[in-house]
Symmetry: C2
């Protein structure tokens, strides 16, 4: 019997489609070892100024993408990981993908994006609407109002409010502003499902995006046609006309690679492709989290909180709860903070004085490292500062984009590193209030597993999160949670017969791991942060729950002022 | 008749003793023309680390000065203005001085500062306590508590609270911590009065510092001995033992220059010297303000608000009201903001990013000018920001050093110039709430006259103050309000017989003037600022009047944390 790992190993490829780039990773499915990874920066990136190749200007809050960038992602990254690893395509048993969501587009019946067609190329609504396209806020507001007025209870599954980022506000915006595009769109679908369609030739719809972004539930399905009719009579049959009621569970096989997709990727025709997934959600099994009690936080520019429960409960202010939406057999809860790394980056760009820049440079540190080093010398409570982490509004639990950041406790002695630390602390309080909110609604959280880019880069942040939440924090073994989790799903899509796994549980047992290092709450720090957190909650409720709506009034005033001629 | 101005002109010298330097100006008393000015930077500056020539370390919050620096000020600046102007000492008819207050020192009976004597030279309490020596806070707290408990109404004249900066807390600190210095001090007096003593050989005490800083009033005199006994039995006779109940009105002649002082200054022996004055107060006649309704604001690192009334009223939170304390015949009101230019300087030092520094440098602008230029392009309300101007606590109307700064409305799009403008605006709101407080207590304010360093340097600030307060603002003609006002008092001390003036009113008629340029409120801006000001007041009261004492709790926590070993 040949026992050389080379001969017996099987591999899976995961592809993670992010906001700025696509990333592939090739993983040994028996050991979880990552053999190669490759990144493709989208040529057209985030389209928020002018439509590519034109002078057509986009309105504020628009954010589009070019579907061709996703195809280029496949064509670039998968051949690259094969070449780098030297793995034989015969040993690649499955592919999984994950995507930002809701990132959606209109296509023809054969899957051709409308924006690929000359007659629609200059029409912004024909392109992909990226998750952070926020221009459908009027539609979201109307949708929420109508749903409330008509007594639809589906809002309860989504913390009481449907976001402007989600599927139906975006679809409705197309109808509102470009009815001809809406009419020409045979299909409206998530980019996640679209790329799987391009690989397999088969149109599938995954339960995860349907559940979290398109108001679908296993028990209730989509909202009834009457609801869509109430929004706009032309939308009455949107689900049946432009979507599908047939949804596929995570880990299922969508199909095999087409001849063409095999050419793009260098993989074999017929290689199993998993049903699409969402970047945050697919990270959960990559973080070895397969049961209730552990919260996975994907930390980056924003934070995404993923948690399994034992039964479906309505929790105020969360992004959503979907049965089997993360891991089969459990209701999966999603919550979020819309401003974490964003505010640190804002601070470094707008507020760090020249001498700090020079000192960091002299020591070959980036400014974040330099500030982290200085901030780490401070004790909790030493700065006298307290911040509300709302530079980008509040997602969970207030679900209010019109809230804004606060910095309190400033004195003439306040130093940049103190503000930097206060910003980090504020995001930790924001996470704690989300955890407390879950607990108060009967969903326990006993441990945190951190994923995403921030945990690796900022140990101070990790310790502060541990101290503030009072929970131990571990980190995913992989630094590419999304792509790795997708590879796991690729192995599940391959199934036993092709040398893969029967379930995501089995895949996790072999592939997923956590780092040894853990961040344990320091009792003295915890005690001080408990005091500071109480102050945070008081201000959170004062500014966020209607006692003083000054932030909204300032925003409205700002809009009025900007609307006037200069 | 010889009409050449040279032959008929008479001159007065004003000397202004500031925090870092002394400044003399020589003024033509018939035209108000400033012929020469000269600055002396104190050799020992503000002494807040170690006692000069020793390794003796001062505690935090201490701030001392060296009285020799004041004498050097005379010896340097007065000869310099004589030389620069070419004026004949025979034509200099009077000298006036003004000083920071309460800046006080212990001396022997002949006026020799204790710190000049070898046996006391190494004792910190033997030196001058500068106005911003804040280490007598425990004494101030006890004094206020005892005064309230015993029902003394004098607190009402000072907005309800005696500051730690004032005379009796400082004197009491000497007694508390260095009873041997207290015992050795034959006299305790304002440095203002001490320098006049040095010039004239006559010990006088001016009504202004007595009234504003030493709890004296024309009607009630000093607090009774029983009060001082209640503080500390050893202090029972402080007024009679170490001070004086004989006080001199502003503009009176303290005496003539001694032989020695004539040698120091190059002026004639016997040249009349006016009774000492305070820098802010002496600026009022220099600003042509001699009747109720006009508020003089001396704008610099902090703001000082001077206002005449028609009758003495108790106004909550002001620094004090003193009959004849500014201009004879009127009760003079003083209020203040402890953080104006300070916060702009803090911002420039701690928060302005490197690219702004480079752009400013490339255009040969200082950073303040660069930020002002960018901030001036913004419309009121455009930034969406609102700040509470408490980086250095709040003087009027909350009288609370434990309040701290707030910045609200921050987003990822917030720019440095927006924060800079919000800081300026916050200080304008701080001035408006002081004006509104005066108005609410029956003391009208119809116009503002700005003095000090800021108005010249920042036109945007002036317009914002006009827009926020809804009042027209004019500027003093002189840029040296203190020294100029002192020269006016020198001319009054000389009196008619020596070619001077019979009163400060007469002096003002000839000498004082305002600039032509005025800042008039822009109605559209006023309307927006009215809205923002209402938001400011809501936050001011919420954080400042006990609804949420988070700032104090954060400060206390900070102190506790810092007190622990690292």
């Amino acid at each position: 019997m040949d026992t050389s790992p080379q001969a017996t190993s099987k591999y899976a490829v995961g592809v993670d489609f992010g906001t700025e780039s696509g990333r592939a990773v090739l993983v040994d499915i028996t050991t979880g070892r990552e053999l190669a990874s490759s990144v493709y920066e989208y040529a057209n990136g985030v389209i928020d100024e002018t439509l590519p190749g034109t002078t057509i200007t986009l309105e504020p809050d628009w954010a589009l993408q070019d579907p061709n960038d996703y195809l280029e992602g496949f064509k670039t990254t998968i051949p690259a990981v094969l070449a780098e690893s030297g793995v034989n395509p015969d040993d690649v048993i499955g592919i999984g993908i994950d995507f930002t969501a809701c990132t959606m587009l209109p296509t023809k019946a054969d899957g051709t994006p409308l924006c690929f067609l000359p007659q629609w190329r200059n029409t912004p609504h024909a392109w992909v609407k990226l998750w952070k396209h926020h221009a459908a806020q009027p539609e979201a507001n109307k949708l929420n109002q109508i749903a409330r007025e008509l007594g639809y209870t589906f809002l309860d599954r989504y913390g009481g409010k449907i976001s402007s980022e989600w599927f139906f506000p975006k679809a409705w915006q197309i109808l509102d502003e470009a009815p001809e595009v809406y009419a020409a769109a045979d299909r409206l679908l998530e980019a996640a499902d679209w790329v799987v369609w391009q690989l397999t030739g088969v149109e599938t719809r995954n339960e995860c995006t349907a559940g979290y972004k398109a108001i679908w539930s296993k028990h209730e399905g989509f909202p009834p046609n009457a609801f869509f009719k109430a929004l706009d009579p032309r939308m009455e049959h949107i689900v049946d006309e432009k979507m599908s009621r047939t949804l596929s569970p995570l880990g299922a096989r969508a199909g095999g690679l087409t001849e063409e997709a095999a050419r793009w990727t260098g993989l074999n025709r017929g290689t199993p492709v998993a049903v699409a997934n969402v970047d945050a959600h697919v990270t959960v099994p990559a973080a070895s989290v397969l049961e209730p009690g552990q919260m996975v936080i994907i930390m980056g520019t924003s934070n995404c909180h993923m948690l399994l429960g034992t039964e479906e409960r309505n929790v105020p202010g969360i992004c959503g709860v979907v049965q089997d939406g993360i891991i089969p057999g459990f209701p999966g809860y999603e919550a979020g903070q819309s401003c974490v790394g964003y505010s640190f980056a804002w601070f470094v760009e707008q507020c760090v004085p020249a001498p700090y820049m020079r000192q960091a440079e002299a020591r070959s540190l980036n400014v974040h490292q330099f500030l982290e080093e200085k901030a780490a010398l401070l004790k909790p409570g030493e700065s006298g500062l307290l911040a509300l982490d709302w530079w980008n509004g509040n997602r969970t639990i207030l679900v209010d984009v019109d809230l804004t950041g606060v910095l309190l406790g400033l004195t003439l002695a306040t130093k940049p590193e103190e503000i930097y630390r206060a910003l980090i602390e504020s995001t930790a309080y924001g996470t704690r209030i989300i955890i407390d909110n879950f607990k108060a609604n009967g969903i326990p959280v006993k441990e945190i597993v951190a994923a995403g880019g921030l945990p690796e880069r900022n140990k101070l942040l990790m310790q502060i999160y541990a101290d503030v939440t009072g929970l131990p924090i571990r980190q995913t073994g992989t630094s590419q949670g999304g792509a790795f989790g997708s590879a796991m799903h690729g192995a599940v899509a391959a199934d036993k017969e092709a040398g893969g796994y029967a379930s995501i549980f089995e895949a996790a047992r072999y592939m997923a791991r956590l780092r040894e290092e853990a961040f344990i709450p320091i009792p003295d720090n915890k005690e001080i942060y408990d005091q500071l957190y109480r102050e945070y909650v008081t201000l959170h409720d004062y500014f966020g729950r209607g006692a003083n709506d000054v932030m909204k009034r300032l925003k409205r005033l700002r809009e009025e002022v900007l609307a006037e001629p200069k």
